[in-house]
């Protein structure tokens, strides 16, 4: 092992926490200010907790309402004044969900849609972001600006052209038609480019000096360093794919090809909606995301802190 690479690898070890820390200014400043506010302000945490608890209640309320409505009769769900607790508790709404739509295949479609889109975005956007950040090729900046301009265009505007392309490919009402337009995004490319730009160039130069080709430098050195950025990209893509409604609604026509988001939208009637059944369906559709969040809570928060928005 050469001197340069060894040095680079030692740097990698120290650069990793530095990179993560830089992405989390909030968590770094908090401990710093805490010692300054010492004993005289000991009651402050309680105030903070009370405020946070109030915020939590506000955030949790819609979910609680959804949960409770799923166990109500239709009549109880629309009565004025509203009742908080179901009376009586009914458990048939969940059965109704399964009876009124092919929940299993819709669930599978949602999972496939989410997994394939996310895999596509992680691979393609990471590679494209790296190319824009580190490789020099003619017209790089022009192409990148063209990419960015896509971010300014509202989805509704390219709905029709995108539909016509998918139609010409014979992908209407099929899994590829659902997945393909989402396997790549200007946002993801931008996100990853910014992340790669923030990594020190010396690491890569060291690898190149040791004879690594661009692909090896990318895959062995840069990708492992870009892990926080990739996690953020994954979080965004998973949430966006799972909740995506407009495109799946337009491109799918048969219930067996639809994801859950479209199935739920179909339960809304013109002159009347069975809210308890709809809420039961929505609850079932939210559960996988909820479980995922609880399991990957730390990564979610990191991802959100990194980009400063929650999509």
């Amino acid at each position: 092992m050469s001197e340069a690479l060894r040095e680079a690898l030692t740097d990698t070890a120290s650069a990793r926490p530095a990179a993560t820390a830089a992405t989390r200014p909030a968590t770094r400043t908090a401990p710093r200010t805490a010692p300054a506010a010492t004993t005289p302000r000991r009651r402050q945490p309680w105030v903070v907790h009370a405020l946070l608890a109030a915020g939590a209640v506000v955030m949790v309320f819609p979910f609680a309402w959804q949960l409770l409505t799923a166990f109500k009769t239709f009549q109880a769900s629309v009565q004025v004044p509203p009742s908080i607790l179901p009376d009586p508790w009914v458990f048939t709404n969940f059965g109704e969900v399964f009876a009124s739509m092919p929940f299993g295949s819709m669930f599978l479609n949602s999972v496939l849609l989410t997994v394939l889109r996310t895999a596509g975005q992680v691979v393609l956007c990471t590679m494209a972001g790296y190319a824009f950040a580190r490789l020099s090729f003619p017209g790089r900046n022009v192409i990148f600006v063209a990419f960015l301009s896509v971010l300014m265009v509202p989805t509704q505007l390219y709905l029709l052209p995108q539909y016509e392309i998918v139609q010409a490919l014979g992908w209407l009402d099929s899994l590829p038609g659902l997945v393909m337009p989402g396997i790549f995004s200007a946002f993801g490319t931008f996100l990853m480019r910014q992340f790669f730009m923030s990594l020190p160039a010396e690491l890569e130069e060291a690898a190149r000096l040791d004879g690594a080709n661009p692909w090896q430098a990318f895959s062995r050195v840069m990708v492992p360093l870009a892990r926080p950025g990739i996690v953020a990209l994954t979080v965004f893509t998973v949430l966006w794919s799972w909740n995506d409604l407009l495109w799946p609604l337009v491109v799918t026509t048969s219930p067996e090809k639809m994801p859950l988001s479209v199935g739920l939208a179909q339960m809304v009637g013109l002159h009347g909606t069975d809210f308890p059944v709809l809420m039961a369906g929505a609850l079932l559709a939210t559960l996988p995301m909820l479980v995922t969040f609880m399991v990957l809570q730390r990564q979610f928060i990191q991802g959100i802190a990194f980009t400063g928005s929650k999509g």
């Binding site: 014979g170 899994l175 179909q266 013109l270 002159h271």
Partner: protein, 420 residues
């Protein structure tokens, strides 16, 4: 099947070539043989009517064994977005539901196949006219709805007020509302909802004005008659006989009605099946004809039509199905399901009989004087103006006279723009 082979957009295909290679294995999902059996798709927007539509589709397959009909349900909120995209792209369902505000735009853009062979004698003239554009029939009337006054009998009994008479007038209506209003109990006599078809389109007609003339070129907004029709409602809010616009935004007027907070609520025939299946009101509500204004008690009539996609592959079979889905046999299936009044003359009694506890003949009798649903070539251009101005009038930020005058100018301007 509807999976057409790549023909156009060669550039797009090239651009996506790597992507193609990626999923080449997933592209082929076993399309059926092209000859022989025909599969039609039928686009609808109401989940509650899906079972009846399924029965009609199956009945068609019985007489046409080589034709199967798939039902494509899209919720109304997204129905038009999806339809516009699919039809512009040259696909879309073979047969689909159409409504009054959209028929002229679709027909005049060549998206619909004329129904030359349709026998229109079996349908009310107002509905045939709605789906006739420049002298050509494009839609087979499927159903219709008219408006009535739904009222809560329990609230009438509690206040000691007699139920509405069939020949009541606006003055009777306001007086009844006054007697039913009880602020202590939180009960309002009426709900002056900001609903076009259910409320002010009807009262404007009853006052003697046309929201849009039948040829779609002039508006009645701006006339004193239209103002009378609008003030019928705004006066109720001002007098406290109705919840305010703010309160009705918080809780929908219909929810207030089914919760026993509003005694009289103007709504369509479509509400019958909803009330019938809601235990809270099933036995305690009934329906009366609209009260008569200066020029009578006209109701607006609207109905869905079955139309054929001009871009479909099997237009002949599609036209046969569209006609069948509006036929006497299909009408009878719809009538028994109860969701809507079938358009085919003579089949309505089955709908009336389906929910005998309500005086549903009110909605059939309304046909005699019913006026067409206001529509033009680009309906949404002036309805958006109408919604914006009337929201201010209803919330009290704009005097009704001033709002009416503004509508007279702006709606007319939108109509003039269509003619250019």
């Amino acid at each position: 099947m509807r999976h057409s082979a790549p023909r156009r957009y060669a550039a797009a295909v090239l651009a996506l070539a790597p992507a193609l290679a990626l999923t080449a294995c997933a592209g082929d999902d076993g399309t059926a043989a092209a000859d022989g059996p025909v599969t039609l798709t039928y686009g609808i927007w109401d989940k509650n009517q899906e079972p009846a539509m399924r029965q009609i589709a199956d009945a068609f397959t019985e007489t046409h064994p080589d034709v199967t009909v798939e039902i494509e349900l899209t919720p109304f909120a997204d129905y038009w977005t999806k339809l516009r995209t699919a039809v512009s792209g040259g696909t879309g369902p073979d047969v689909f539901w159409m409504n009054g505000p959209n028929i002229q735009a679709y027909a005049s853009n060549g998206a619909l196949e004329p129904l030359a062979d349709l026998d229109t004698s079996g349908y009310p003239q107002g509905l045939v006219d709605l789906y006739t554009v420049d002298g050509t029939v494009y839609g087979a009337p499927k159903d219709f709805d008219t408006i009535g006054v739904w009222y809560n009998k329990d609230l009438f009994d509690a206040a000691g007020v007699e139920y509405p008479a069939d020949d009541w007038t606006w003055d009777d209506y306001v007086e009844t509302a006054e007697r039913l209003t009880d602020p202590d109990k939180g009960v309002w006599g009426s709900a002056a909802a900001l609903n076009d078809q259910q409320n002010y389109y009807d009262t404007i007609a009853q006052a003697g004005a046309e929201v849009i003339s039948s040829d779609g070129t002039t508006t009645g907004y701006g006339t004193p008659e239209a103002l009378t029709g609008l003030e019928f409602w705004t006066d109720q809010i001002a007098a406290g006989l109705s919840p305010t616009q703010e309160q009705m935004t918080d809780t929908s007027p219909e929810t207030l009605f089914t919760s026993g907070k509003v005694a009289m609520y103007w709504s369509g025939s479509w509400s019958a099946v909803a009330y019938d299946s809601n235990e809270a009101v099933a036995e305690s509500v009934d329906v009366a004809p609209l009260p008569a204004g200066p020029e009578g008690n006209q109701s607006v009539i609207h109905g869905v039509g079955n139309v054929v996609n001009a871009g479909g592959e099997h237009k002949d079979v599609a036209a046969q199905f569209a006609a069948f889905a509006s036929s006497e046999e299909a009408a009878t299936i719809q009538a028994e399901a109860g969701a809507v009044i079938p358009a085919y003359t003579g089949t309505q009694q089955a709908w009336v009989d389906a929910m005998p506890q309500y005086h549903l003949d009110v909605f059939i009798d309304a046909l005699e004087t019913a006026v067409p649903y206001p529509a033009s070539r680009n309906t949404s251009a002036w309805t958006s103006v109408q919604d914006e101005v009337l929201t201010q009038v209803w919330s009290g930020n704009l005097e009704p006279a001033e709002g009416n005058a503004q509508l007279g100018e702006q709606v007319q301007a939108a109509l003039d723009a269509e003619q250019e």
